[in-house]
Amino acid sequence: MTTQATPAAAGPRPAPPPARRNRRSWTGWGFIGPFGAVFALVFMAPIAYSLYLSLFRDRMIGGNTFVGLDNFEKVLQDDAFWSSLGRVSLFLCVQVPVMLGLALLVALALDSGRLYGRDFFRISIFLPYAVPAVVATLMWGFMYGTRFGLVGDINDALGVSLPDPLSPDLLLAAIGNIVTWEFIGYNMLIFYSALRVIPHSLYEAAEIDGAGQFRVVTAIKLPAIRGALVIATIFSVIGSFQLFNEPSILQNLAPNAITSDYTPNLYTYSLSFNAQQHNYSATVAIVMGLITMVIAYVVQLRGMRKGA
């Protein structure tokens, strides 16, 4: 048989025809197709459209023109945007630690097993989360009223004059109070469910080693719910940057204290609906989205680092 070998056979064997191996099976696409279509339509398309919008400028005089990255340049120099970002950052630095700290305390208290009426407390602390943010803000808005609200009633009854929670100086704290009230229960539930899955054997071992309750909390419970803490922090960071409902509703009660650029989201809203600057509004939204992503990512990286 070797005699039949041609000179060509001496060279490297030619690769088998590719046709068969590379023929795709489209079955997989069939399965993810519906998801892909919905995903593209409801997630990717709006983002793509915003990006598209951000490259134009529509003016009352001169019409719609392509301006490249001018809008982005303008955002970077926009004092109104940066001051609103500063405001929500301050809010983030103060309100989130307070809220998460309280939620953690409550979760630990519930989990300690020494609380009488545990289920009642769990439900009642969670309840505010079930109240829609709009309703909650309206309710607090009434309480904050210095003339006919709760603050006003306290002033009348005790003959004192409490400062107006809706004055420009106290407003951010007043909003922080509403948000804390709304979300303690939600975060508490995340922490509590994480605490419930800690194996009991660890507690028994700790007891044998003679560890006190405080030591159990710091050495077992907190490390064990680290993941939940990070998740809750990321949610809160995003929530703070997206602050909108509360200031938007309180604006009716305190229009001079809550400016149209009070928070980045309120700013994009006013740009879009009062100023008719949809293009610039889209740009601000994109920049804000990027900043939120970066900060949330940093929180996640730091939070997940072992032994940090």
């Binding site: 593209a40 793509a48 459209y49 001079n256 609906f273 009062n274």
Partner: protein, 446 residues
């Protein structure tokens, strides 16, 4: 694997591009420019009939639409209320941007007309013969429908000549005279608040519409508009007169910071906490329904003057019915607008409690003799009609007053909650207004 993900990306990109193309290429139906229409054309359109979409929040239009349908059986009117003023403008702007769903008739306030006129979103009604109606209306509203342009971009529906509404019972109880000048108004505010620390001369938390009307009456003409050139200046003597008076009221905390239209406001109007309101003649119906408990307490007086013995007034609010350019059924739409704004519809609306802009109604004996039970039987329309005749002409709003008003509280509002002076607040407002003008491509006069 890498290849596949690249393909996936490409696929997503394609879908996005398709979606984008789909959104970008919205339909562009309607929008034919009108040629001159004769009465016969309008009659023919009424005969032929069709459905007319009307966006308005004015409640008395419901009856008008019903009557119109009755008179012209072929016509069906779809009356939609997309929300009061601000909300309606947002909805209208969105519809115009999308070039679909634009109504055939839209209610627009005088202060907002300029924006729509400038961007050529309204049909000029001169071609329909609207020019002949000039003498049928009082000067303020007629000036308003021109929106700073040359044409006639709507027919006035109502008007808001200002008057001073005051709670007579409160004034009588403390023996205070009803002020006839703004200086007396400040005196009355002091006397009232001293006599009853819970009572205030009025409420004000900073409202652009009120402030511009006050400036209007004081003789200030802050806005200069000439085509695409705009100027804003709050430093004329009229503006100074206003800030001097109002700054005193703010400094001495003589006005209560209650938002208009809030529950607290109605409560204050009913229980005497808020003793006066300087506002448009459309107010009586609101008082009667919102502060029913104070029926018989309130009266109407002419607006206080800036100079003793003067008789100058201004408009506060008021709106017109317009034909958006992208709407359909122009002839039919005009027929309805004419019916509601100049024809039989006016009488229907007056009967429903609206304040007309037509001279015939204002001058009619029946209108002037109407006794208001809420005002203790006072013939309040006499005062309103006189005010309408005394409205100072030549006032203009900015072509983008909607935006300017939306940042009023960001700027002038500071004077209400901090040490900022009204004059400085107005300066900031001016700067913000001019900056926006520049961004929108206007030539700005500084």
């Amino acid at each position: 694997m890498e290849k596949r993900s690249r393909r996936l990306l490409r696929g997503i990109g394609l879908v996005c591009a398709l979606a984008l193309a789909a959104t970008a290429c919205g339909g562009s139906d309607g929008g034919t420019n009108p040629t001159s229409l004769s009465r016969a054309d309008i009659e023919a359109a009424l005969e032929k009939g069709g459905t007319l979409t009307v966006w308005a929040w004015e409640p008395t239009l419901e009856q008008v639409a019903a009557d119109f349908e009755k008179a012209h059986p072929a016509v069906e009117i779809d009356l939609v209320n997309p929300g009061v003023n601000g909300d309606q403008y947002t909805a209208l702007q969105n519809a115009v941007s999308a070039e679909r769903g634009v109504p055939d008739v839209a209610q627009i306030e005088y202060f907002a007309m300029g924006q729509y006129v400038l961007t050529e979103e309204l049909t000029d009604l001169t071609d329909y013969g609207a020019g002949e109606l000039a003498d049928a209306y009082t000067p303020g509203p007629w000036n308003g429908v021109k929106g700073g342009g040359e044409g006639i971009y709507g027919l006035p529906m109502d008007s808001g000549p200002m008057a001073l509404f005051y709670n007579k019972r409160v004034f009588d109880r403390h023996g205070i005279d009803v002020p006839t000048t703004w200086d007396e108004y400040v005196e009355a505010a002091r006397a009232l608040h001293e006599a009853d620390p819970k009572a205030y001369i009025t409420n004000d938390i900073g409202e652009a519409g009120f402030t511009t009307s006050m400036l209007w009456q004081a003789g200030s003409r802050p806005y200069r508009v000439d085509g695409t050139t705009v100027g804003v200046d709050f430093s004329d003597p009229g503006a100074e007169a206003y800030t001097t008076v109002w700054q005193q009221l703010l400094d001495e905390k003589l006005v209560t910071p209650i938002a208009s239209w809030s529950d607290e406001w109605y409560k204050g109007l009913a229980d005497g906490t808020i003793a006066t309101l300087a506002t448009g003649a459309w107010m009586p119906a609101n008082l009667a329904s919102g502060a029913a408990g104070a029926a018989g307490d309130w009266r109407v007086a002419p607006l206080p003057q800036w100079t003793e013995g003067g008789a100058t007034s201004a408009e506060n609010g008021g709106s017109a019915l317009t034909l958006p350019r992208l709407g359909a059924n122009e002839a039919l739409a005009y027929a309805f607008v004419e019916y509601a704004g100049a024809g039989e519809g006016v009488q229907t609306r007056v009967a429903g409690g609206a304040f007309p802009a037509t001279v015939a109604q204002l001058d009619s004996k029946e209108f002037q003799d109407t006794k208001f039970d809420y005002f203790g039987g006072q013939q309040a329309n006499r005062i309103f009609a006189e005010s309408a005749a005394n409205v100072a002409a030549d006032w203009t709003y900015l072509p983008y007053q909607i935006y300017a008003n939306s940042v009023f509280n960001d700027t002038v509002g500071k004077a209400y909650v901090s040490d900022t002076r009204l004059t400085d607040g107005l300066k900031t407002w001016r700067d913000a207004s001019l900056r926006y003008g520049e961004e929108q491509g206007f030539t700005v006069e500084r």
